[in-house]
């Protein structure tokens, strides 16, 4: 009786032989690898080839040679830009590392009040556009029109100016505070996940609190700190918006601003731009290689079972100082810039002081009302285009990321290792370099000067971020969950649909929103690949700050920031903080 129902046969036994080549799995994964391979390899090849082509004086023909690289050394401006790039990246790295490590330690390992509530706010700068931050800080601390300088003149009665961010120090300052969350994320994770008995055993062995922190805690998180620092260095070197706003106009050129000038200026020389891009790319790729090959493998995986909670250090009254320090960071990095932008955006013209009688919403109408005849077309175009790009781009990138992650983690072999490698390459190159590659690759194809080329640039550069997000979840989800579906009789596609994707949903969605955010604020790819009609949101901001005035710029910046903050809010609700480490 017991097994009567179960012993009825279910299906005739399949006995057909099956050739293993044209399976759903193989077709899908081959397609995905070809796509990824083409998307990543083509621009790189194109840019390498272009960098060895010299434009002749007529501006039409080219010949092969090393002249582009020679002029990197000979041209004083480019050489200066090279030095500035290194200085800015180093400075920003030091600043971000100091802030990131200290904030992470306060949040993860001390009894600082409200630390749980502060954490999401500490990450906000990661989501906002550094370009907008630079605009805000320009309005706060430019010598003449800076709000803070005017306040200082009025209240403290000083002559001249208190602060000046329109120089290399301003670039370092804004870059540093905006990239602090990158270090924070790398360090806070290892601090939280550290097995507390590693510290307990130092204490029971006889080491005091300070000694334990210096000889056990810090050495254990050093690889995390170094990883974060390298990511900041590389990201800073590839940053375009901040030096464009605060450096270039005042004589502090960087490689990115120079690439931009050479790529889209009136006397555009793509070939020289390609050589500069290669130089920048070589530096960043080298550092990423160091991070992944030498530093990341040394990270100590110290997670263990036995319901552990990290040891919290009682700071005593100093906990209030720690809280003040954290609040000060949030004030400087988030609140002050945003408030300043709002204030500026409400003025018809900005002269550095608040004039309550003049307040108006006119700037928002001009930049946001895309149905309004008197609008600024470049700005309103940007809004529509960016939403289209972000939505479609994030969707395509995540589909690609899903298949690629599946290949990397679920099929083992040469193909998967190659794919893993291909996915790292875009992370090693700044957006502006990839954009140059995409530009020289597709300049003679119909997609040039359409939204498609921008989309291609976005996906090529950023789909690895989505892929990391999915991979993280995929590693946590046992492969046996998939296998048992196959064993139960489901095909690869059915398994993907009914088991794999539902299980990865949090990772997929988190990755989607992350990419959506990145695409909405993207500047350095768009600036190279846009043309009239295909402006993006950040290009709109660029247009306004370059050709219109600060209040209009601020209005669009505020709008962009509000949208980004909303996305952050949803992101928090769906993914945890861990999902961010790309």
């Amino acid at each position: 009786m017991a097994t009567e129902i179960l012993t009825r046969p279910v299906e005739d036994a399949p006995t057909s032989r099956w050739h293993s080549i044209f399976t759903q799995e193989n077709i899908a994964t081959t397609l995905a690898s070809l796509l990824v391979g083409a998307a990543v390899i083509l621009p790189l090849f194109a840019i390498i080839l272009s960098s060895f082509q010299i434009l002749d004086s007529s501006g039409f023909g080219t010949e092969w040679g090393l002249d582009n690289y020679r002029s990197l050394l000979k041209d004083r401006v480019i050489y200066g830009a090279f030095v500035n790039t290194l200085l800015i990246s180093s400075g920003a790295t030091l600043l971000a590392t100091f802030l990131g490590v200290s904030l992470a330690w306060i949040n993860a390992r001390t009894n600082c009040p409200w630390r749980g509530k502060l954490e999401p706010f500490n990450l906000i700068p990661f989501f906002l556009s550094p370009f907008v931050g630079a605009i805000a800080w320009h309005n706060l601390a430019a010598p003449k029109v800076g709000l803070l300088n005017n306040l200082a003149r009025e209240i403290l009665g000083i002559k001249g100016h208190l602060l000046n961010v329109d120089n290399i120090y301003g670039v370092i300052w804004v870059t540093g505070i905006f990239f602090t969350p990158l270090v924070y994320l790398f360090v806070v994770g290892s601090l939280r996940r550290m097995d507390p008995s590693l510290e307990d055993s130092a204490r029971t062995t006889g080491a005091g609190l300070l000694r334990t922190t210096l000889t056990v805690t810090l050495p254990l998180v050093t690889p995390g700190i170094l990883s974060g620092a390298i990511i900041v260095f590389v990201t800073s070197a590839g940053e375009f918006g901040v030096p464009f706003k605060l450096g270039a106009p005042y004589g502090w050129e960087t490689l990115t601003t120079q690439i931009f000038t050479k790529a889209v200026g009136d006397d555009a020389n793509h070939y020289l731009g390609a050589a500069m891009s290669m130089t920048l790319g070589a530096i960043t790729a080298f550092f990423i290689w160091i991070q992944r090959r030498i530093i990341a493998p040394r990270e100590y995986t110290t997670v263990t079972g036995k319901g552990f909670r990290p040891n919290l250090i009682d700071l005593g009254p100093w906990k209030w100082a720690a809280l003040a320090y954290n609040l000060a960071y949030l004030f400087i990095a988030v609140l002050l810039p945003l408030v300043c932008l709002v204030i500026v955006s409400l003025h018809p013209v900005w002269e550095g002081r608040i004039i309550f009688t003049d307040l108006t919403f006119w700037n928002y109408k001009k930049t946001l009302f895309f149905w309004w005849p008197e609008r600024i077309v470049s700005a309103t175009n940007g809004i529509v285009n960016s939403f289209i790009l972000a939505f479609i781009g994030a969707s395509i990138a995540m589909i690609l990321a899903l298949v690629v992650s599946y290949m990397i983690h679920r099929t083992k072999g040469f193909g998967s290792r190659l794919l893993d490698f291909l996915c790292v390459i875009p992370i090693g190159f700044p957006g502006i370099v990839i954009a140059m590659g995409v530009l020289v690759t597709y300049i003679k194809t119909p997609i040039y000067a359409t939204l498609w080329i921008i989309l291609l640039g976005y996906i090529t550069r950023f789909f690895p971020y989505g892929q990391r997000n999915i991979s993280a979840v995929m590693l946590a989800v046992s492969e046996e969950l998939d296998q048992s579906s196959r064993m139960a009789g489901a095909s690869w596609l059915t398994t993907l649909k009914r088991v794999t994707i539902p299980l990865l949903k949090p990772g997929i969605f988190a990755g989607w929103i992350l990419l959506f955010v990145i695409f909405l604020r993207e500047l350095s790819i768009s600036i190279i690949l846009y043309s009239t009609g295909t402006e993006t949101l950040s290009v709109g901001v660029y247009y306004l700050t370059n050709f219109e005035n600060e209040p209009l710029t601020s209005a669009l910046s505020v709008a962009q920031s509000v949208v980004l903050l909303l996305c952050v809010y949803f992101f928090r609700r769906i993914a945890g903080r861990e999902a961010l480490t790309a």
């Binding site: 017991a2 097994t3 129902i5 179960l6 012993t7 009825r8 046969p9 279910v10 299906e11 036994a13 399949p14 006995t15 057909s16 032989r17 099956w18 050739h19 293993s20 399976t23 046992s478 046996e480 969950l481 296998q483 048992s484 579906s485 196959r486 064993m487 139960a488 009789g489 489901a490 095909s491 690869w492 059915t494 398994t495 009914r498 088991v499 539902p502 299980l503 949903k505």
Partner: protein, 369 residues
């Protein structure tokens, strides 16, 4: 036509699987008659899981042939490979692999939905499978709300619900705690017996293998060391590896000095100047003069305070006694060798006691090195 020529339902011939240059499975052949429960037993890295994965179709072998009920699953020489979902095999994984985004019922119904059975049929079968594993009360619960033991039961229900041709177990109990593990292995065996599905079970836990199996294959380094029933494997190991891996044994290198008759002889072992000859049972392939290993289990050694006509036996000194509750684990030093002797705890041996060791000749074995 349902069985291979040799009467086996599952038939594995010359299976080879490499990982890189590493031979995980090195040309093994075995079979399982219909309805039997076979265990692949061995230390980690011995190739047992790889063998199972090849049967499941989750790994592709590099050589060899696998067939079930006459149907060819994999044959490298004939370039045939049936994907896992076409094999109609139920499998229970080490991590249970219960889908956390579905309820228990949805998990168990899944294989039936894939096979497009009618609603009422699915309902009946799922209810029956859940009843069989004792999870009827949990049907509507999300899988994440189950304990480890319950997840294991759900996994089993999912594996048997579609009446597969073969049931595979990949160390299914290793994540459970000791008491639950002991309970589950008896129950697993009972359910397998009840549904009567031919089963292959992989484990590194020898007591699990002894408790559950009809037949055991002991593997090491990708090669089969011994095949046999639980009692045969335990009582008559063939070689040093099996002797040492299954249970605990006193192992001493020696030489066969005399053969009495079929399977009986005398082994000579020496330690620190002491040389003794012991009557023993000979494993296959051991003849006079061959090097052999003396293998005696601790429970087959008696430690006696007084020789009682034992003649020239092994005389040693108790150096450590470990109280194990129901018995006493004693270490007796004889030359450089430490004998493990399991004595009843009421005997109360103490370190320093001089004792004579008496080996039960029916359980004293000479095995291959």
């Amino acid at each position: 036509m349902n069985e291979a020529a040799n009467g086996n339902y599952l038939d594995v011939q010359g299976l080879v699987k490499y990982f890189g240059s590493d031979r995980a499975v090195d040309g093994i052949s075995f079979g399982v008659p219909k309805g039997r429960f076979l265990t692949l037993l061995g230390p980690s890295g011995c190739g047992k899981t790889t063998t199972l994965m090849c049967i499941a179709g989750l790994h592709k072998p590099d050589a060899g042939e696998i067939s079930v009920g006459g149907a060819l699953f994999t044959s490298v020489s004939q370039r045939a490979y049936l994907p896992p979902e076409k094999r109609d095999i139920g499998m229970v994984f080490q991590s249970y692999a219960i889908w956390p985004h579905m309820t228990v019922t949805q998990n168990v119904a899944y294989p039936l939905e894939i096979r497009k059975l009618s609603h009422s049929e699915i309902g009946d079968r799922v209810a029956e499978a859940l009843r069989l594993v004792g999870l009827s009360d949990m049907a509507g619960k999300l899988a994440t709300n189950l304990s480890g033991g319950q997840q294991q039961r759900a996994a089993l229900a999912r594996a048997i619900v579609f009446r597969p041709r073969l049931l595979l177990f990949d160390e299914p109990l290793s994540n459970l705690d000791l008491k639950l593990r002991e309970q589950m292995r008896v129950e697993l065996k009972r359910i397998q017996h009840e549904v009567g599905i031919t089963s292959v079970y992989v484990t590194h836990d020898q007591s699990e293998a002894l408790v559950m199996s009809d037949d055991i294959i002991v593997m090491s380094k990708g090669v089969i060391q011994q095949t046999g029933g639980p009692h045969a494997i335990y009582a008559r190991p063939l070689n040093r590896f099996v002797s040492n891996f299954i249970g605990v044994a006193n192992l001493l290198d020696g030489r066969i000095v005399r053969v009495f008759g079929p399977g009986r002889g005398e082994i000579e072992v020496a330690q620190g100047g002491d040389k003794v000859r012991l009557p023993c049972l000979l494993a296959d392939g051991i003849g006079e003069g061959s090097e052999a290993v003396l293998s005696v289990r601790p429970e087959n050694v008696d430690a006696l305070r007084d020789p009682q006509g034992l003649g020239a036996g092994i005389r040693g000194e108790v150096i450590q006694t470990i109280f194990l509750g129901n018995c006493q684990d004693c270490r007796v030093r004889w030359g450089d060798f430490e004998w493990k002797v399991l004595a009843h705890s009421r005997e109360r041996l103490r370190p320093g006691d001089r004792v004579y060791l008496r080996l039960d000749p029916e359980h004293t074995l000479a095995v291959r090195p």
